[in-house]
Amino acid sequence: MKAIRIVICSFVIHLLFLTPTKAQPQDTSYIRLDDASGYTPTTTQLNSLEEAASRLCAAFDSAGFGGQFKVYDFGFYLHQEVAEGGYPEPFAQKIAEVADLSPYYLLFGKQSDRNGIYKKFWVELVLPDTGKFECLNLLSPTLRSEIKQKIEYVVVNAYLKSGSDYLYFDVAEKAGIDVLQEIAVKYTECCDLQSRSVNSCDAFVLPAQIKEVTYSGDAYIEMKQDGNVNFGQPFPIPHYLDTRPDNEQSPLALVGGFNVSALVKFNGNELYETIKVRGKGEKEVAGITVVFNFDEQVASQDIMTKQIAANLGSSLPYMAVFLDDLKITWEMRVKRTGEPEADWEPVGESINNWYLTLRKPKPEGTGVGYAHYQTLFEIGCKYGRGTSDPEILNGVWSHFKNKEVSRSDGEHLAYYKTWEPDPTPEIAWVYTDELLKNREGQCNAWAKFFLDILKAQGYSENGSLLIVKPDPVSQNRPSSGFILGHWNFLKGIAINEDEFDYWNLYNNENKYSQSSSGLWSHLWWQNSSAPLPQVIQTGYIPAQGNPNNSLSYFGQHIIVKIFSGGSEKYLDPSYGEEYDAELSNLEGFVAGFWLELLDYTPPAFINPPPSNDFNDLVLFRKNTALEKLVIINESSY
């Protein structure tokens, strides 16, 4: 019987002190919504939070918003990382639900994920914009977001100080509630013209706001724009400017493993005796968290403008990586005259796209189309992410194999989409810059482009451009070039030319035509007596950005040779194909070989005779494997 009493007492005690409370009265200030973490707070925790929330709500009640402000708490499990720049989907949904419950609120979102329970805090705050809160907008257009920023900062830091242990989530939330209560009281006084005090209307909840950030240092690479505007121009400095939209901030490229300097400027809200600044950013990429710590430095302040400037430095991880929308959170610790040094406070975030290269890029080449264009870093750092040459090479090449290579602005790049530019350009689309500008290029440009991507990563091995032609010594009458893909060879009347069984007539001044749908084709003379043409293209080899209409009639082709892990690789960036040293798989794409003879006098049996324009002859022979494709030139690049 005694034992039973002990059990009953224990149960009662547990109910009173340990067992989480599930039901909450409707008039509570702190309202728990669902929590997917499985953790249930203790009554002690909830009581503490309710007390703090009651004080906060009372501040709103007394300001004329009785019962209209509540504090909500929500826990959710995140299966996938949230896209940059927004709330996670469950939290965003909850915001919408809470808005229906209460017009004004402070909502905490506790994110659990594969890393554990409550790994991240989210905060949403909606304050009244009438009555005693109306003047917030007049004091400063950014004041509301700064208040929210401060609450977030306080919550996150309080949680960090508690060891980011979910058992102490209440400490973080209570800290945020308390700070908001102080702010609410302060501004209701300020907006009340009757009881306004001087100190309540400083309009600042933070010591300063970020204005701009300029990065520099030995690791800094002056990257060039390569979109439709300002082609070849460096990106604007400062890299971050508070007046620019986030998607227009300048990206920056740096050599991994070195240090970067940041000159950070802030708009100070008042004059301070001493100022310290620090910054931190982190980004998870493929399971690796890349961290940037800009260690604290003493800042200087202009006493006239109150502008604060600090030079800070951070080490960079040794790897090639692209950090999309990397945010650096800047913090400031100030000491006001006659007061002790304040705690660290948030003073804004800068956001930029960061490209870290494996090594220092090879210098830009004058006159050869290679400059430090953004696309080179975009592809090299994004797809070649890693810490070694083979990782970069394999990553970049895997991307090329998909045949969907794009410029940094997302515009697709193509191989020989236009067979005959109109008007014929001065330049021949054989350089990287021409490929990027025109969004298409010849094999020469694609080969250089691929090697330029590696150059921008400081790839340790030199690459080579290989010129591939029909073997100039294999036949009595060497051909001048070859045709790729699928071609029909129609047997007709042959002409007396060694080793060439087929022929077409064409006009060398006007070789191609373009259909209304934009597709190109050869313009051959048509005649039923020979018949002509005897060789007609019927299919294509899928090429970069051009799966079914790339020019397939070449005198030569340029591919790339590169060393990797002690072995040679023969890569064809134009087609995203890899070959063996004998090019046998490239030869598999060859349908035949050609030899052009200009100003040819057509045979008399062609009736009616071709017009004068069609007096150029091209001879063909099928690829019978007797004629080889060979590398006739190798030049370092």
């Binding site: 006159g367 050869v368 189309g369 014929t424 001065e426 330049i427 021949a428 054989v430 350089y431 010849q442 020469n444 451009l465 290989l466 010129i467 032609k469 073997d471 100039p472 010594v473 009595n476 009458r477 060497p478 001048s480 070039g481 070449f554 005198g555 030569q556 030899l595 052009e596 003879l597 200009l598 100003d599 060979v630 590398i631 006739i632 030139n633 190798e634 030049s635």
Partner: protein, 294 residues
């Protein structure tokens, strides 16, 4: 003798219309020269040095297409062979270069009339002239936009089968000279050496800074290499320098090259020949020698 002069005059009048330095090969019987016909033929003319009206002509195929079609056809005669450089267009930017060879028929008897009408059938593509191909590729590939300054070249083949090629790149104002023996090509074919590695068997025998701005003809005499430019200047490639030699009369000049390569090259001025109607063959030779002031 007057037939010879008549032949020369005919040749020279024709030459002036091309506004480029000509080379004419002579042997005991004929003066050999070529005219370019369109961009894929050359006309070989054999002007008899003995019979007044005896001129033989035949059309031979030597393709010269693509962006270098301003280049005069490079040709040379050694023994019974006529060599020429063929340039085939590949695309708007690049070409392929081959050495082709025709066999000039020989008379079996002195009184037999020479027939060159079937000479075109003897054409063979001797080999791929990789050094010119690479040079032109590098020029096209390394200079922005299309080439504005021309590239000129000429070649000779000596009796031992050594081919010597001079390439002038105006853009860089440099002239390079390479050699390789024809037999070396045959060995490479037999040994199955990859084509791209054969470039190493071309021997660079000189690289010269120069101010030559025109097309030129190259010739060799006493183991020295000379360049005669279209504007009548004569240069000697010696050691590391290209020395300009002064000529007493310079414009225009014709190179007389004896098919017997052991004999010297002669120059003759059109102007002087026009005024001198009755000089002897020896005088021509002496006169030509005196034109070179060295």
């Amino acid at each position: 003798m007057k037939y010879i002069l008549t032949s020369y005059l005919l040749i020279i009048v024709g030459t002036q219309t091309f506004a480029q330095v000509e080379k004419i090969f002579i042997d005991e019987t004929f003066a050999y020269r070529v005219d370019r016909i369109g961009n894929r033929k050359l006309k070989l003319s054999l002007n008899s040095l003995r019979a007044k009206e005896d001129t033989l002509q035949t059309l031979l195929e030597v393709t010269n297409t693509g962006k270098y079609d301003y280049q005069p056809i490079a040709w040379h005669i050694v023994d019974s062979f006529l060599y020429a450089i063929e340039i085939r267009r590949l695309d708007d930017l690049f070409v392929s270069v081959f050495l082709i060879r025709y066999r000039i028929p020989l008379n079996k008897r002195k009184d037999e009339k020479l027939d060159i009408s079937k000479m075109s059938e003897s054409m063979e593509t001797l080999y791929y002239v990789q050094i010119i191909d690479k040079f032109l590729f590098d020029v096209s590939n390394n200079i922005r936009s299309q080439i504005k300054e021309p590239v000129y070249f000429d070649f000779i083949v000596d009796d031992k089968g050594l081919i010597t090629i001079a390439l002038l790149e105006k853009e860089k104002r440099t002239l390079v000279i390479y050699t390789k023996s024809i037999s070396q090509h045959e060995i490479e074919n037999t040994d199955n050496i990859p084509v791209y590695k054969r470039i190493k068997s071309w021997k660079l025998i000189g690289s010269f800074a120069c101010s030559i701005q025109t097309s030129f003809r190259m010739f060799k005499e006493n183991e020295n290499l000379y360049l005669l430019t279209e504007d009548g200047n004569l240069f000697e490639a010696k050691s590391a320098e290209l020395n300009m030699l002064s000529l007493r009369k310079t414009e225009p000049l014709v190179l007389l090259i004896n098919r017997d390569v052991k004999q010297g090259v002669q120059f003759i001025s059109v102007d002087r020949v026009n005024k001198t109607k009755n000089i002897s063959e020896t005088d021509i030779s002496q006169y030509a020698k005196r034109l070179i002031d060295y």
